[in-house]
Structure formats: C-alpha cells, structure tokens
C-alpha cells in the first residue's frame, strides 16, 4: 500500500517536473523573443531619429544615411548613383527646410493675428527643428560626398588603367578601394576577361603579382563570387581580384595555369560551393567524399542524409 502510494507520488513529482521544465522552456523562449524584440527596437532606434516632428527632410536624411555605406562597399559604379541620391537628398532637405521656414512664418503671422500666448511657442518649435533635421541630413551626406580618397586610390587607378588598356576596355565591372579591408584595392573583373587579367597581374612588371596568397569563394545568394588576394612581393602592394558568376550555373576560368596555388583552392571551392573552373587540370572534390551530393558551403545546402 505504502509502496503504491510512493509510486503515485513519484509519478506526480515526475509529472510536475515535466510541467516545470516545459514552463521553463516556454519562459526562456518568451525571453528569447523579448530579447529579439529589444534588439529590433534598438536597431530601429539607431536607424531612425526620435524627433517627433519627423519632417520629410529628416526621413530623407535617414534614407541617405542608410544608403551611403552600401555603395561604399559596392563600388564605383554604384557610387555615382549614391552621389546622385545624396544630391537628391540634399535638394529635398533644403526644399523641406524652406517649406518649414515658410510654414513657421505663416504660423507666426497667424499666431500674431490671434495674439494668444501659447500659439507662438509651437511655431517657434517647428522652424527650430526642421532646419536641424535638414542640417542633419546635410551633415550625414556631407562627409560621404567629398570623402578623402584612400591613399591607395592611385595604386588602384593605375592597375585599372593597365587592365583597361591591355586586357579590354570592358574588362572591369567595378573598381574600388576596400577601406574596411585595410584599404585593399579591389577590381571586379567580368568573367570572360578573368584569365587574361590574371596573366596581366602575374606578368606585367608594374603589377608583378607573382604571389597568389588566397582564393576564397563566397555564396552571395544572388550570385557566386571568387576573390583572389594577390601581393607583389617586391613592393608589398596588395590587390584583390574578384569575379562573379551566375548562381544557377557558376562557371569561371581557372587561374591555375597562372598561379599553381589556385589548384587545390579551386578544387576546394568547386567541392564546397559548386563553382566550375574551366581549364582546371584536375577538378575533383577535395574535402568531401567523391560521391557526395551537394555543395555544403552553399547557403541553401541541405544534407541529403541528415544522419551523416
């Protein structure tokens, strides 16, 4: 009897234990969610000004601010559009400020006509804020527009000029200095010209990149990208070459005939990202087994057998 009682007690305690666990899990989940919200809220905070009188000028300012860093990494081609956007933003901001001033003036006049004490306080606030927002937009755009050119800009320009002259006028898709990556001069090469550009970088004495230090493949979900990090061992000048390939059928020319370093690196990229390298002497999988299905470093990779 007592044994039976103990048993039931046990069961109940176990059950309560489970319930508790469940509750705990839910609680932590809720906490997680809350955390996420807090983070999102933080983000929103940092991106949007808290000014209540959100004139359009301020909104435009935000837009320009949000866009400015992206083109910086996107490169020269879109830099032009960025500059345009900034100009547009400035124009709009100025127009808004003018409108705000006019409105304030009108309001002040109206206030004067009414002669009420609290009325002038509101218009006084409005013109004060609108120009500030406009100034903010201008200030945000200002440092980006006449941005100090990178000290390595001449190096990039020289290399780009050589490529345009000796490979093809159309060979370069983008050329920019990657300031985040220790001011790396970066050239995005159109795939048909990749091999010849590689040869130029290797052989031309002004470039002299006999050493290929790294090859990386990146799946950007919209396209595939291969990055070649080069260095001139005599001068210490560094370059990054990039080539983009269509994601559904990524094919690029192999640079293994130029730099033997690329051999296994390209095999690794083929294996893990599924980019084919035309002209590679031995394009086989290198990390995964030969009969593996799929390319694990792709963002949408799903293992055929999750048990493995």
């Amino acid at each position: 009897m007592s044994e039976h009682q103990e048993d039931t007690k046990d069961v109940t305690s176990r059950e309560t234990g489970e319930v508790e666990k469940k509750a705990e899990g839910e609680a932590s989940e809720a906490a997680d969610k809350a955390d996420g919200k807090v983070i999102e809220a933080d983000k929103a905070d940092s991106e949007a000004p808290v000014d209540k009188v959100q004139s359009e000028a301020a909104q435009v300012g935000v837009k320009a601010e949000g866009e400015a860093p992206a083109p910086a990494s996107e490169g020269a081609a879109s830099e032009a559009t960025a500059a345009e956007a900034e100009r547009e933003a400035k124009r709009q901001a100025a127009a808004e400020a003018r409108a705000a001033r006019a409105a304030a003036k009108a309001a002040a006049e109206a206030g004067g006509a009414e002669g009420g004490a609290p009325a002038p306080a509101a218009p006084a606030e409005r013109p004060a804020r609108a120009p500030r927002a406009a100034a903010g937009a201008a200030a945000d755009a200002a440092p980006a527009a006449p941005k100090e050119p990178s000290p390595l800009q001449p190096q990039l320009d020289a290399a780009a000029a050589l490529v345009r002259e000796l490979v093809d006028v159309d060979a370069i898709e983008e050329a920019y200095v990657n300031e985040l990556g220790s001011h790396m001069p970066t050239l995005v090469i159109r795939p048909p010209y990749l091999r010849r550009t590689a040869e130029l970088f290797h052989a031309h004495e002004a470039l002299g990149c006999s050493y290929l230090r790294n090859v990386s493949g990146v799946d950007y979900e919209t396209h595939m990208e291969v990055v070649y990090h080069l260095v001139n061992m005599a001068s210490g000048q560094r370059y990054a070459l990039k080539a983009r390939a269509d994601r559904s059928d990524p094919v690029l020319d192999s640079v293994t005939p130029v730099w033997e370093t690329a051999n296994w690196n390209e095999r690794e990229i083929y294996d893990l990202l599924g980019i084919h390298f035309k002209g590679h002497p031995d394009l086989r999988r290198i990390m995964m087994p030969d009969d593996w299905i799929g390319h694990p470093l792709r963002k949408d990779y799903e293992p055929l057998d999750p048990e493995v």
């Binding site: 220790s182 790396m184 990386s216 990146v218 061992m233 033997e260 370093t261 999988r285 470093l297």
Partner: protein, 368 residues
C-alpha cells in the same frame, strides 16, 4: 636473356600511417623503388569549420580555430581576433598585445620543437623526439597555467586576452629563455652535423624560389629558397615592428635548409621573447573597450599573419551581423602541401617521408 618484366605497383600510404602526422593519405605509383606518380587524398579530418562558423558568433568561433592547427593554436586564435579587431577598428590594450605576442612566440618555439622531434623520428632518430617533447612540455605547462588547457587554449578574445598572466608566470617564461637557448645549441650539435642525417636530407625535396612562389608556399618552405618573406617583417602586425630579429633564409631550397631555418627561427623567437619581456608594461588592462555584441560592419577584409607554418589568413565577409556571412581561412599547411606531388615524382619511397615531413603539415589545418 629477355628483359625482366616489371610491373607498376600501386601503393596506398595512410590515412593511418605514423609518418603522416594525422590522417593524410597518399596513393603512390611505384616503378620498383621509384615514385612515378603521387596523388594526395584529403578530407579525413574535414569538420566543416567554415560552415560551422557561419552559425556562430565570433567569440564562439575562437575555440574552432584552436582545432585547425592544433600544434599552433595561439596564432590561429590571433588571426581571427586580429581580423575582427581590424574590421571594427578596436584598440587592444598594450599589456594584452604583449601577452599575445609572447604566447605566439612561445607557440612558435613549441611548434618547431614538435616538428624537429617528429621529423627526426620519421627518419629514424628516436632520442631527439624525447628531448623535444620534454622541452615543449615546459611551454605546454606554462600555457596550461595561463589558459587552463594544454593544446586548445581559447586564450585570446576580440579586443584582448581572456586573463592576465597569473603571478610569477612571466618570471617562469623569463627563466625558460636561457634554458631553451642552451638546449637549442645542444640539439644543433647533436643532430645537425650527423653524417647519416645529412645523407638522408641534403639535396632532397629541392625546388627554387620561382617554383615556391608559383605554388604559393609560405613560411620556412618559402624562405628556404632565399626569398625573404615573413609577414612579421613584411606586413608588421601586433608589436613586431618594435623588436629586433632576423628573418633567416636558406639558399638551396632542400629539406636540410628547411631544417636549419626552423632551428634558427626558434633562436629568433627566443630573441623576440627576451625583448618583449623587457619592454612589457607592468600592469594595465587585458581587455579593450569592446561592444557587447561583436558585429563587424558590412563588408569584407582579408588579414594574414605568420604562423609557424607560414601565412595563415582570415577572410571575413560580414553583413553587419554577429555571425560572419562567410569565413575563409587561408591555411598554410593546405597550400604548402600542394607542392608534394611534384616533389615526389622520381624520388624513392624512403624520401616520401623525408619530403612530407620537411613540409611540416598539420592535418587538422589541411582539412579544416
């Protein structure tokens, strides 16, 4: 008397072979004793570090770098932290940077000692292995005191180091330097001039500077051909521009030059250590001002440093999140190993081990 009929022999070496330093496999075609073709097969230790990293934040990735080149975990820690710091523009306090530099140079000594011992073991000398591991043990013990682990230290952080050195630790390092300096001369005398040893490695696995550069070799594998290329000197990072040290180079590009270089690099590391301990500030922070969430700005960056095996690089593609969008490690063992099939053709089977050992690979890093 007709000609003797010969047959090509296909021989599989590894992945379970004591001289492959891990699970490296190579398939060789033999004509008698001579290798006609060699095909390395890798991936037995592939853990998908780069894929795993895409779902981890940067602090969580640090222990994974320990497990790439597990003979030189400190330099691996450093390259990741350094890359993130550079992207975010973070300052590292001086004391922390000194501690990092000291452990990295100790690591270089330890790593070269492991190489020296196992290489001689590979080619038939038993006792140097015991000497090397005895002295390496001192360093491993010191690292254990510092970080709580013997091999996978996880000591560095983005913005500094996990802990300051415990009391008396730096004195122990200070005491180790003259001891090791004495020992290295002893080892040099013991082995370097040995005639059997010389006949085994002199002129073996030879290549010139042009070939080394074409194959992207780095570290002693590159410098043995006379190319003076050491990232501590050529692209100074950390505090290396404050210290005097030589970058030794060879001239023959053979296994013997690589051997001599690594011994000399131990001496140079001890020299750096001596200066670092002298110049090190007494106290101070060991962790810089780091935001609570480490989110490098959107963009990409490639940063490389000199590990005991050569250029270890870290290519981060960030989308402004706490996790990297793509993290690629340029692993020196992987790149250096590429030249192996070329070096083996025409060599004898015994030289396979001599040449493979001379490249100094760690399979955890080859496969990542």
């Amino acid at each position: 008397m007709g000609a003797i009929r010969t047959e090509e022999l296909l021989l599989n070496v590894g992945p379970q072979h004591p001289s492959t330093h891990g699970v490296f496999r190579i398939i060789v075609k033999l004509d008698g004793e001579i290798i006609t073709e060699a095909t390395p097969v890798m991936g037995y230790l592939h853990r998908g570090t780069e894929k795993l990293a895409e779902n981890l934040n940067f602090t969580q990735i640090i222990p994974y770098t320990d497990r790439m080149d597990y003979v030189s975990a400190m330099t691996n820690n450093y390259v990741l932290c350094h890359a993130v710091e550079k992207m975010m523009g973070l300052e590292v306090p001086e004391r922390a940077e000194f501690l990092r530099l000291i452990v990295m140079e100790m690591q270089r000594v330890a790593s070269h000692l492991v190489w020296w011992g196992t290489y001689l073991l590979d080619i038939g000398a038993m006792s140097p292995f015991l000497f090397a591991f005895r002295d390496r043990e001192t360093i491993v013990q010191l690292f254990n005191e510092l970080s709580g682990a013997r091999l996978t230290y996880n000591y560095m952080r983005v913005g500094g180091v996990k802990w300051d050195a415990p009391p008396g630790w730096l004195d122990k390092v200070r005491a180790f330097i003259p001891y090791m300096e004495k020992k290295i001369e002893e080892y040099d005398r013991l082995v370097s001039g040995n005639e059997i040893f010389l006949s085994r490695i002199q002129g073996i696995g030879r290549y010139d500077a042009e070939t080394a550069i074409r194959y992207g070799l780095s570290g002693a594998n590159l410098r043995c051909t006379g190319v003076q290329w050491d990232l501590r000197r050529n692209e100074p990072y950390s505090l290396y521009d404050r210290f005097e040290f030589d970058v030794p180079v060879g001239k023959n590009g053979d296994c013997y030059d690589r051997y001599l270089l690594r011994l000399e690099e131990i001496r140079q590391s001890l020299r750096i250590l001596r200066q670092a301990l002298e110049q090190m500030p007494e106290g101070g922070e060991t962790m810089g001002k780091v935001p609570r969430a480490i989110r490098p700005p959107a963009g990409e960056s490639y940063v490389a440093i000199e590990s005991p095996r050569g250029e270890i690089g870290c290519h981060i593609v960030s989308k402004g999140k706490a996790e990297p969008y793509r993290l690629k490690f340029r692993r020196p063992s992987f790149v250096n190993l590429q030249i192996l099939p070329k070096l083996l053709v025409g060599e004898t089977m015994t030289n396979l081990i001599t040449i493979l050992g001379g490249i100094d690979i760690v399979v955890g890093e080859v496969d990542a």
